[in-house]
């Protein structure tokens, strides 16, 4: 009884969706969430529906599977114009509207509405228990076997060695900023982190929250967004979200759609001014030659909201690259920088650099095993005792991953 009351209520809840955005779908998806019935979850842990929209690269599939499994039960996946093969099991595919009228009209707005309806229907089925939650796609095994290994059965050895609870421990290295040699944290962030451009996969090494080194593993997926006013407004909305102004971001998104609910742009830009958004961006942050710093890029976007046409930027200098812009920044600053570029510039900045020390990691990582790094018999002796993990920054450190090259 109590359970059914709960499910009834739950069915009314806004549908929490975690999205993985594929090629050319970003702007459309952001408009999808203008509807109050839907909430875009920041993390799969908060979502019930996994929406995969647009075409994905082959190597993204493994990440999608991982994201799928990170969601709590009950969960369901919806593929929207997505081609992911069998990677997501027998998830429901949505290729447009089911109504004939809509197929003929093939108008984006109509199809968006159809997706909304489908999402809502899915959630109601899930909440009422008609649809069962999807099982895991990956095998239920830890990245390294650990149970029963080691003196306490926790998988570790000595002070820092082994793989306690399935993962090795962080090792010490020098720091870029203040020379205290503390531990490094290396991980691949992305490709579907909500505050990252979709598809961008960075291998970052952090110390505390300062980024020590960055390597682009996969560039962002190309988006249709041009340089027109709606695209600029959407970009402004993303920056506003990162600045902690989701309400203003939402208004900018509504303005980008236009129509009856549209917000006067002057009002929006005044609100942004009074929010102190410009002051919240440090001067000189993420400066790129010819492109100003993050603050000027932001000011440009705001002036678009004021009615000026979007600025045109000159070509990039050859040397500008994310792997040289981001290191040394704190996480929050780095997120501001990442979101301040337009799509074209960003894809140039995030291009995979061809070079002697590069290793086409992007292709290695996706070959289907979660524990690519710690597999192999050699790893165990490496993690014992003083462990030989990454005491060098930058290229030397990357060399470890691309040893075969």
């Amino acid at each position: 009884m109590a359970v059914s009351v709960l499910s009834n209520w739950a069915g009314e809840a806004p549908v929490a969706v975690f999205v993985a955005i594929g090629e050319g779908m970003r702007d459309r998806l952001e408009r999808l969430f203008n509807d109050a019935r839907f909430v875009r979850a920041a993390s799969p842990r908060h979502a019930a529906i996994f929406l995969i929209a647009g075409r994905m690269r082959l190597e993204d599939r493994e990440d999608l599977r991982r994201l799928h499994d990170q969601m709590p039960h009950p969960r369901v996946t919806l593929l929207w114009n997505a081609e992911v093969g069998e990677a997501l099991g027998d998830a429901e595919v949505f290729t447009g509207s089911t109504l004939e009228v809509d197929i003929e009209a093939s108008e984006a707005g109509r199809s968006d509405d159809a997706v909304r309806d489908r999402l809502e229907k899915l959630w109601q089925e899930l909440a009422s228990g008609e649809r069962s939650s999807e099982p895991d796609l990956l095998h239920d095994e830890p990245p390294n076997s650990w149970e029963g290994i080691g003196p306490h059965g926790q998988g570790g050895q000595g002070m820092m060695g082994g793989t306690p609870y399935g993962r090795p421990m962080a090792m010490t290295s020098d720091d870029l900023r203040d020379g205290l040699a503390l531990d490094l944290y290396t991980a691949r962030f992305g490709p579907f982190l909500p505050m990252f451009p979709p598809g961008l996969l960075l291998e970052m090494t952090l110390q505390g929250d300062v980024i020590q080194s960055v390597k682009v593993v996969r560039p962002p997926l190309s988006q249709a967004g041009g340089n027109d006013v709606p695209a600029a407004l959407l970009r402004l909305a993303r920056l506003l979200d990162v600045l902690g102004l989701p309400v203003l971001g939402q208004r900018a998104r509504l303005a980008a759609v236009g129509g009856a609910t549209s917000v006067p742009l002057e009002k929006l830009s005044r609100a942004i001014h009074w929010a102190g958004a410009t002051l919240a961006i440090p001067r000189g942050l993420g400066a790129v030659e010819g492109y100003g710093d993050t603050r000027t890029r932001f000011a440009n976007l705001v002036s678009v909201a004021n009615g000026f046409s979007p600025a045109m930027w000159p070509g990039l200098t050859r040397s500008a690259h994310l792997s040289s812009i981001l290191p040394g920044l704190e996480w929050s600053e780095a997120m501001l920088v990442l979101n301040s570029f337009d799509d074209e510039t960003l894809s140039t900045l995030a291009a995979i650099v061809e070079g002697a020390d590069e290793d086409r990691d992007g292709h290695d990582h996706d070959s289907g095993h979660m524990h690519h790094d710690h597999g192999g018999p050699h790893d165990h002796d490496r993690h014992q005792g003083h462990g030989g993990r990454g005491s060098h920054l930058g290229n030397d450190y990357h060399g470890r991953h691309g040893g075969h090259a």
Binding site: H152, Q154, M159, S173, L180, R382, H386, G390, S391, R400
Partner: protein, 199 residues
């Protein structure tokens, strides 16, 4: 046995047990917060002892101090979360004996001393009295404390920051080995044999 006694017993048990667990737990964050728990229990006992200001202020001060303690514990201890259980002690038996002896000695002293019995009157405005004392008779102590705290602030800034008058504080440093003249602990040897390149 009234509620007061029971509460006192419970709080003492919490204070002592969590104080002991501080040195028996693997996770540094847990250790810091256990110490905080011990302080909170003592603070509440102090409130029960008719010193509400000192008791609550103990909780207040120790909450932030133990927070900072946790930050530094995690920063400087190897294996801060205790993922691998560990025991980093020296002269262990001697320390146990010293601790027990201190406790026994103090207890004996307490039991065999007769203290005067002049309990504090519950109606005394203790906070007010303390304020008068601070501004009047003990004014010098108060201002001296200010100077001491200033010295502490300056000292801790000088010691902890990297840049100094004679250049960077960490120049020419090399970590010690776990055994004398051994390889630096927890790190990979500089310009090592590169064994990590072959896998």
């Amino acid at each position: 046995m009234g509620l007061t006694d029971l509460l006192f017993l419970a709080l003492s048990a919490v204070a002592i047990l969590s104080g002991w667990r501080v040195f028996a737990t693997d996770s540094m964050v847990r250790a810091s917060f256990l110490l905080l728990l011990s302080f909170v229990a003592v603070g509440l006992i102090i409130v029960m002892l008719a010193a509400p200001y000192i008791g609550v202020a103990t909780v207040f001060m120790m909450a932030v101090e133990m927070m900072v303690m946790a930050l530094f514990m995690v920063m400087f201890m190897m294996n801060p979360a205790g993922l691998n259980p560990m025991m980093m002690v020296h002269q262990h038996r001697f320390s146990i004996v010293a601790g027990v002896l201190a406790f026994a000695g103090l207890t004996a002293a307490i039991l065999f001393t007769s203290f005067p019995k002049i309990p504090v009157d519950p109606s005394t405005p203790v906070v007010h009295d303390l304020g008068i004392e601070l501004l009047g008779p003990s004014m010098l102590i108060f201002e001296t404390a200010g100077v001491t705290l200033l010295a502490t602030m300056i000292g801790s800034v000088i010691l902890s920051s990297r840049s100094g008058r004679f250049g960077m504080a960490d120049q020419g440093s090399r970590p010690p080995g776990l055994e004398p003249d051994g390889e630096p602990a927890g790190r990979q040897p500089e310009a090592g044999n590169g064994h990590h390149h072959h896998h």
